[in-house]
Symmetry: C2
């Protein structure tokens, strides 16, 4: 399977010229796939590539004070049509999540320009910073800062795994950490935002369609669950007198699937665990687990979180440990506006055919912007249904269908 | 509690001149305590310190081909009396585990020399490489290589977390990787080996004694348990269709305490878990846990391992994952010889008083050497009973009692 997927992923990324250009950037030899994290070498290389490629199309590229990149076709101004996505990845992510939306946008703009289209509204392609939250733990970092969904004080104090603060990392990237935060003037310029993205499930496979619009995004959040016990020697400490936070964490994680199954349509995941000190022959003193929980309504997400919180408290008590749960991010359920979706759908399928609408389990910058601006998303079919992993895929034909749809939308809107 | 322990640890390490000299080396600001791992900056600094300090005592320092350091009083030769321990630590370990034995040995030799003692046998202080196995996963690496308990081919292929092989790391340290392995000529020179070590439990606290001899070392081993599932998106993948290796790992770890309690006197610990890719919003594709398991007899350790193996297989099956268990190291139960212990005890308490004998839950280089050479261990009381953590401690008086005991042993034996 993996060699088939590997070959498929290669042909997929090389069949799209833009993806082929960045196929070598941020390859993760240990995890497989790509690791491209905010302002690391790979992310900086991708930013340079974006700037260079957009400039070749005659677009004017600027970096805003939150680290997002904007490539303008025409003078920046009010009622702009903005499309784009993000360049960063999860650790060991696929080739399509993020870059597909940017490559497709640049490709669509290039075709429109070559066809002599003259947009009536300003058009921009945006690359949002740190959508995956892989470096600083907050997903949609750049769009949250732009819209004020994340307080700049909280953002500045975020730290990466090496202990470096966001303020330091932004300063090293040539940005003024004091200037990050809400940017209402820029937000006011955006009239419509459309994000094209690879689908992260099998909805389009089941529908046998290449492209869909997004109906909604599951509400979701991230929490750090920290268990504290007593670090000690793994050989010299009898089982009876242990305060082992790893056992408390494991007992909690083991219960999560049943707790999520009890809340219909909800999802809960621990993808990352860190033990302090982390020696094989050492009972840890602290174990952190990161919980990702999502559900169709905010009430359901809260109910799920409460049951996981109770399970963590039980497990801590049984193991003579303490537990502390910290919210790292929270995004309410998003319903994309019906009228925007209808207008966009009409551009894509002008002869009265309908474009299917799918819910998204994954969060997106479009979900953050939707609270402020008419927003929509276009999904491109993913035959593996797998995402955030090297098996993520889209065929060349489906990528072409996505670009064509985006081209029609921009033409229709501008 | 932690501030009390912190203050105590400070006064403890500074009350012993040798420990005070290295109190700043390898301080771990994130974990607390010390992180000193084979041939890292801290370990190299400690090796330089050892060489310099032993040379000041008039000892001749050499590094053997397995990376162990030897400081000789008199010409190296047969029937040598060797004492020592190790300089490396677990991640975030205490100040005493390892260095106390080396500092005490150097201190005892210095006093004997100052008192005009002329040993009848060659005497050496040894600092064994990578006793904790924190870099390459195999505890007692240096003594295992010396005695042939670890095959040099297997050792050369070991990799650290950064993916560097032991062969590369040894070569960078100026050692010939082709030359590592059994060193019978050196082993044949050792007539007696005595390791002084901080106690890693509360045995001496309960006995109200400062110093004990070791009766035995629990048999113990380390295994890597690798669960493989299907990496995927944490939000877009329904709970019903997951193959989540983190849940399988957690279900296994959560059962381990009960499985260990079912085998009398046994201990089992998972101190370290690593998820691939390790993103908060990603179902991992692979989760590794490292198991440390120990029991009073090898049969009991095997029985414990079999029950954990069965639990891991169950948990993998329930979660549609696979599991693979790899032994990283194995040390059979060690009983230190009664006659050596009696002779050493007679030197320490010459007037017919008895020195208590305690079992050790922790492994030591003395346990590896005991299969080849008359060996013994001296334990110094640890009032916290905690080890492999910053709370590990010994009072200045008890450290002095340990040094005095070692001095009497060397005088009596040589």
């Amino acid at each position: 399977m993996s060699s088939t997927h590997g070959a498929a992923a290669d042909s997929g990324s090389t069949s799209l010229p833009g993806l082929a250009e960045i196929a070598d950037v941020g390859v993760d030899r240990i995890r497989g796939g790509y690791s491209r994290h905010l302002f690391d070498d790979a992310d900086r290389t991708l930013r340079d590539w974006f700037t260079e490629r957009a400039s070749r199309l005659g677009l004017d590229v600027e970096r805003d004070r939150n680290g997002n990149l904007w490539a303008w076709w025409g003078e920046p101004g009010p009622n702009a049509f903005v499309t784009g996505s993000h360049l960063d990845s999860v650790p060991g992510g696929g080739a399509f999540d993020g870059p597909l939306g940017i490559v497709s946008a640049l490709e669509a703009l290039g075709r429109l320009r070559d066809a002599g289209h003259r947009p009536a509204r300003p058009v921009a392609v945006v690359a949002f910073a740190e959508e995956e939250g892989s470096r600083f733990g907050v997903a949609c970092l750049g769009s949250r800062l732009l819209t004020g969904a994340l307080h700049p004080d909280r953002a500045r104090a975020l730290r990466d795994e090496a202990g470096r603060s966001l303020a330091q990392v932004y300063a090293d990237a040539g940005l003024d950490p004091a200037a990050i935060g809400p940017d209402p003037a820029r937000l006011d310029m955006i009239g419509t935002f459309v994000e094209l993205h690879v689908e992260q499930g099998r909805g389009l496979v089941d529908l046998d369609e290449p492209v869909a619009l997004a109906a909604s995004i599951l509400g979701h959040g991230r929490w750090r669950i920290r268990f504290r016990g007593q670090g000690n020697h793994a050989g010299a400490t009898p089982m009876q007198s242990r305060q082992d936070p790893m056992v408390a964490a494991a007992a909690t994680i083991a219960r999560i699937p049943d707790l999520a199954l009890a809340v219909e349509g909800s999802r809960a995941t621990v993808g990352r665990v860190s033990a302090l000190p982390g020696g094989t022959n050492v009972i840890p003193s602290v174990v952190d687990c990161w919980l990702d929980a999502r559900a169709a309504t905010d009430d359901a997400t809260n109910a799920l979180l409460q049951s996981i919180r109770a399970a963590a408290r039980d497990a801590a008590a049984v193991n003579a440990c303490s537990v502390e749960i910290t919210e790292e991010s929270w995004s309410p359920t998003v319903r994309f506006p019906d009228d925007t979706r209808a207008a966009i759908g009409a551009h894509i399928a002008p002869r009265g055919q309908s474009v299917p609408a799918l819910p998204s389990g994954a969060g997106h910058d479009a979900g953050i912007l939707a609270a402020h601006i008419p927003s929509a998303m276009l999904f491109v079919r993913n035959p593996t249904g797998v995402s955030h992993a090297p098996e993520e895929f889209a065929t060349a034909d489906d990528c072409a269908a996505g670009i064509a749809a985006l081209e029609r939308v921009i033409r229709g809107e501008t």
